[in-house]
């Protein structure tokens, strides 16, 4: 069992608040990802959970036991660091058995656990090597092995893949997902890479400026971002934003007059006033090219990025706002052309003047 309860957690350094009151529940066997831009406090939050930083106020509870002021050694958590942090003077075997040796575990038991971890991570041929004789990916696996042998209540990962090259990162990402399934373990994972967050997580925690912006499953966050920050942070290419004002209200929605020069009728159930400023968000896959006579919006094309399977066309509205449009890979967009677009109105996001999402009348299944 590993249920983590965080209540009103705060942390400041020299009068600067880094973590500003976090409430979070992490349930047994969940894969939770903390994601956010650099400096958002995600690593600090992880280190507070690990016990490597002192909490300024608030509490952390693990399985009903208060561990806020417990030393890291006694929390029963294991951490994998971005820089691997292997003990350079010990062999791979010693690196993995160090914690068990410290705990005075029986020799045969240590041997069994190390072999087991080495088997899972395919480290068997490397057990007698020193860390400097290993490649980056192998070192990372040793760091994970060091955590596995301890059979901790929660695995903590601090940007474990960011020192690896792109190909290896994809491979290790899959291995981590597999490991989570195989070990049935609770894992907390910090990353600034939203692809890692989307692909690995059961639950994503988006952090910004030391606060939680939104918590939810990856698709929930993708499809129903709670505010402009989450909407802009998740998704590649980013969601496009168009400024506008509410021009009329109806029973089942509202009419928004965009600065870009069109009026759209959107299903929205939130409270809005006529004339209030709003921002409309639309993802690249929900924009479609249309002949000028059917288009809702006329835009000028900028550069295109061809990925093979898809092409991302960057376009600019008459109100100087940038949008990205996802089209088929064999489609080519000229530079500086004028093209027409239609918007998938059911998939538009509407945000009020404070950047908070306005509830949609018809919610799509997440």
């Amino acid at each position: 069992m590993a249920d983590l309860k965080i209540r009103n957690l705060q942390k400041g350094f020299d009068g600067h608040a880094i973590i500003q009151g976090i409430d979070l529940d992490i349930r047994n066997r969940e894969f939770v990802v903390f994601v956010g831009p650099s400096g958002c406090g995600k690593s600090t939050l992880l280190r507070l959970i690990a016990g490597l930083e002192e909490v300024s106020s608030g509490s952390i509870e693990l399985d009903g036991r208060e561990i806020t002021d417990e030393s890291p050694a006694r929390r029963d958590l294991a951490m994998v660091f971005q820089t691997y942090a292997l003990y350079p003077h010990m062999t791979v075997r010693k690196n993995m058995s160090f914690a068990l040796d410290l705990a005075g575990t029986d020799k045969q038991e240590v041997e069994r656990k190390v072999s087991e971890a080495a088997r899972i991570l395919e480290l068997e041929p490397l057990l007698e090597r020193k860390p400097r004789q290993l490649s980056g990916g192998q070192r990372q696996r040793v760091a994970i092995g060091r955590a596995i042998v301890r059979n901790p209540k929660i695995f903590l990962f601090d940007e474990p893949l960011s020192n690896l090259d792109a190909a290896l990162r994809v491979q290790m990402r899959l291995e981590l997902a597999r490991l989570h399934k195989e070990l049935q373990a609770t894992m907390i994972y910090v990353t600034h890479d939203q692809v890692e967050a989307m692909t690995l997580a059961d639950k994503v925690v988006v952090l910004n400026g030391g606060r939680i912006e939104q918590v939810g499953s990856p698709l929930e966050l993708y499809n129903h971002p709670a505010n402009l920050f989450v909407a802009g942070f998740l998704g590649t290419p980013k969601m496009g934003f168009l400024r506008g004002r509410v021009s009329a209200l109806h029973a089942d929605g509202c009419e928004v007059a965009l600065d870009a020069g069109c009026t759209l009728r959107l299903p929205a159930a939130g409270t809005l006033d006529v004339g209030s400023p709003v921002t409309l968000g639309i993802r690249p896959e929900h924009l479609h090219r249309a002949p000028p006579e059917q288009a809702q919006l006329m835009v000028g094309t900028d550069v295109s990025e061809r990925l093979g399977s898809d092409t991302y066309c960057h376009v600019r509205t008459d109100s100087e706002e940038n949008l990205t449009l996802r089209v088929r890979g064999d489609f080519t967009c000229g530079y500086g052309e004028r093209i027409g677009l239609t918007l998938d109105l059911d998939h538009c996001h509407l945000f009020d003047a404070d950047g908070l999402a306005v509830a949609r009348a018809v919610r799509q299944a997440a």
Partner: protein
Amino acid sequence: MLTLKQSRRLTTWLVGLAAWSVALLLFFPIFWMLLTSFKTEIDAFATPPQFFFVPTLDNYLHIQERSGYFKYAWNSVTIAFGATGLGLLFAIPAAYSMAFFETRRTRGTLLWMLSTKMLPAVGVLVPIYLLAKSLGLLDTRLVLVLIYTLINMPIMVWMVYTYFKDIPREILEASRMDGAGTLQEIVRVLLPISKGGIASTVLLSLILCWNEAFWSLNLTSAKAAPLTALIASYSSPEGLFWAKLSAVSTLACAPILIFGWISQKQLVRGLSFGAVK
């Protein structure tokens, strides 16, 4: 006119010449000391100085007979190792706390520690002498161990600190997560990783202790006198005996020179204060 190639070669040659001149200039006194130690007293005084003579071991035999070289050497060894060991015992925890638990005042503390090295030793001679006297520590090895520990402490802390600074904090954090207490963290993780740095610190401290003369001359006389005091005893009372003085100096320098030669790689690393990895 010289071509570019010729002028480059000339520059290299001139730099080489300059380097060799300086090196020989620095080495010459040691060489001359070594040479003189094998001369008779008469040869040693000869003008013009003699480069060719019949070598003799008389001086060395005389020293061993009159003073008992090994007693002094043993004093030097125990004092140097004692002070170094005691120093490490304090320097390692101090450097650990400064390197890994830095506060706003850490930098200031380090500089303040170093500033104590700027005080002229003779300024505190009388109080320290009186203290040693009232504690009954005059002419004991213990008093030199204590004094040397204290005077080398700033350097030792600085050196160990710079080595510790190079060690990624995460490695220690990992050991903490693995369940190590502070002592286990230092003994099982930190020290094995920084053993190169600790070795150079030990080496430097040994050399400084071995060569220290001011306090050994003032606080010891017969029982606890180290080699530096032995040299001094040959310098004046019976007039100047150049050959014997050279022999005793050679004997005093030899162990530490040989020791330094063997470990010069560590020493260079240590003296660069962690700048060269």
